[in-house]
Symmetry: C2
Subunit: 406 residues, 2 copies
């Protein structure tokens, strides 16, 4: 059975974190100079592992086994959040690299290939899941013409040009080549730590519905305008938000989450009735029926809020259906963990991952290892070296089991 070199896994992760290191974390936005450097470094490492590496026209780093007939694709994304952590994304990429090395070094695994992917821009500095969308044929050229940087508005074409990627072909998947896709990731939440779990098998990725709610009333003197004559755009949003939270508490399943991430009033001073308001709201669940019920109730609340003197506009800014992952791949991970004395927990992923995109084209699975304090998207994001190494060993064992089956 292929053997993982735990020290090598940790030291490669640390080396990758040098690209854009910021205090205890990493600042490596997609197509920034350090991001481009790190992708070329990854390609070099994939080459050393015996794969044919390419940095393609969208920045995806793909390492292909030059000879294997049956192949698994293993990876994640390699850019980070702004001033983010060193493991989000990078962990799954370095696990892929280590698995490729370990399987290549084991002669009993000849003909079994690990291809490795480091996707570009899962984090959406330009567009969320840009690289995996490109790889799966979901990113037309016209879309590339349109997209601009989230922070500074740089056209994506210009960023690709500066990154030296313009004109390169974009790699695309041939699903027939792959037995499946595996992505390991830190949990980014507190449940594994709270439960004392070292391995989680991800059953699926939650669906997300996200709305921008804008209210139009009339700004008026907060002292001299009688309550009955106000068109209070702020009060309308507060009532809508409170009512929605009440609804969600009632119809939520065990793992349903919802968030009112922003609320702003204009002009926003103490003694003026708000004339305009805006609110960002989302909810997530693995169960499409719960998502539908929540969406229906939300629409009813909006209709109710819009019957008064304030006009309410709603824009649906995200609508992702829940994604189920392949049970047979998950079972291999669970069995591998159990064989090493660890009882794995089953979790739905509350965050989106490239596995969501890959799952549309091939069987896909995800494995989580714990996040210390549940923290991610922050420079304090961390996981113990022991848990990092253990996760890689379990993933390698799981792949061995899969090869034995197929």
């Amino acid at each position: 059975m292929p053997r993982i070199d735990g020290q090598r896994v940790v030291s490669d992760l640390k080396r990758l974190a040098d690209f854009g290191r910021y205090k205890t974390g990493v600042h490596r936005p997609t197509y920034s100079p350090v991001d481009v450097e790190s992708r070329h470094w990854l390609a070099e490492k994939l080459g050393e592992a015996g794969l044919d590496p390419v940095v393609d026209g969208i920045g995806n780093v793909i390492g292909r086994n030059p000879s294997a007939r049956r192949r698994l694709l293993v990876g994640s994304h390699s850019e980070t959040q702004p001033y983010g952590g060193w493991l989000d994304g990078s962990l799954g990429v370095i696990y892929g690299l280590e698995l490729a090395r370990a399987f290549a070094a084991d002669s009993s695994c000849a003909g079994l290939g690990i291809d490795v992917a480091a996707w570009a821009d899962e984090e959406g500095h330009y567009q969320s899941f840009l690289g995996s969308h490109s790889f799966t044929g979901m990113l037309p050229e016209e879309q590339i013409d349109k997209v601009r940087g989230r922070d500074d508005g740089t056209p994506l074409r210009e960023a690709l040009q500066r990154a030296g990627l313009a004109g390169r072909p974009r790699d695309q998947v041939d699903p027939g080549n792959y037995v499946g896709y595996l992505e390991a990731h830190i949990e980014q939440g507190p449940r594994m730590e709270a439960g004392g779990n070292r391995i989680a098998v991800v059953t699926g990725l939650v669906g997300i519905k996200r709305f921008r709610v804008v209210s139009h009333g009339s700004a008026n003197h907060g002292g001299t305008t009688p309550m009955a004559m106000r068109k209070d755009a702020g009060a309308a949003l507060i009532a809508l938000a409170a009512g929605f939270a009440e609804d969600m508490r009632r119809l939520a399943g065990h793992d349903t989450v919802w968030n009112i991430g922003n609320m702003t009033f204009r002009p926003g001073v103490a003694n003026i009735v708000p004339g305009e308001g805006e609110m960002l709201l989302e909810f997530r669940d693995i169960d499409a029926a719960v998502m539908d019920r929540a969406a229906e109730r939300f629409r009813e609340r909006v209709a109710q809020a819009g019957r008064g003197s304030v006009r309410i506009e709603v824009e649906e800014i995200a609508d992702l259906a829940p994604t189920s992952l392949a049970p047979h791949l998950g079972a291999a991970i669970a069995q591998a963990a159990a064989a090493r004395g660890e009882t794995p927990v089953s979790l739905a992923s509350g965050a989106g991952h490239d596995a969501m995109i890959a799952a549309r084209y091939m069987p896909a699975a995800m494995m989580f290892i714990p996040s210390i304090g549940g923290v991610s998207h922050d420079i304090t994001e961390n996981t113990s070296d022991d848990d990092i190494v253990f996760g890689c060993e379990v993933l390698a064992d799981a792949v061995s089991r899969l090869w034995a089956e197929v």
Copy 2:
């Protein structure tokens, strides 16, 4: 009986609006060059009316009758809100000027004096009611050292220097000189227009309690953090705001008003649980008992909101007690209106006015004329010329009645 020259009233108001004219409104912040110019113009007009005029060390323009034994003080403030209206404040000042002229021209009124005041900075570009506070001895020199401009942080001392006012003495009231203080103003609300009233006698000025509520939670991933483990600073404010609005609907009197003028969450994005929140909230009523009940209920709501995982801080940023105005002065206004065939309405003022300050030192009264559409603090603020002239006539008649009584 003294005769008002309606055309002169309107043309003086229009001339005053030339200082800082902005589209259909006026931009004349306290101590701006146009504000200083307008104060010297007012002093000149007061001199022409036979008064001894002064622009004092805080910018108050005071015109004193040089000989009268018994005197009334009539006025308002003369700066405007940023890009505000032409009547807010200015109306009461020009009414004072016209009354001084009319009474001086009527030989039957010899010995009855109208003193006129144009207060500085009621609008609070530096500090609300600055001029009337100074006049009533409530503005110590140390406070002048401390205050800075609301918008650009200019020290008040520097602003006074640039306005050419530094070193001038500050005029102070000798309450014994005055029979009372009269301030006319536009309503700044929609009630008179809705009721078809041309004259309102102001019974008092509402009390104001204003709070800044800050919530401290913990910013976390909005998808991966289970609901039970969140410290949601935004949700805590939404619940507090909705609960407070519910309380107020129950315990409000007929004229109680409340406003949640601002709400902000940080970091303020859709998929992150808000870690910090801030809310501005106020309520107003003429009845001190209602104010006390509302404040008590608000404190209970805050205590309740602070019992969860989110810490709540409350800062009381304004606490003004309700002000009663002098009934005998109000009665004179009501009788004067009735004698001209107009049934006056009684209103509490939902906004603050310099009369609130003056009322601590002498009998004070206020009279409102209608605001078209209830609009103020905006360049579209307006009142018909007919209503402007009629208001001045009623005020002059009321003063005649008062002189007859005292």
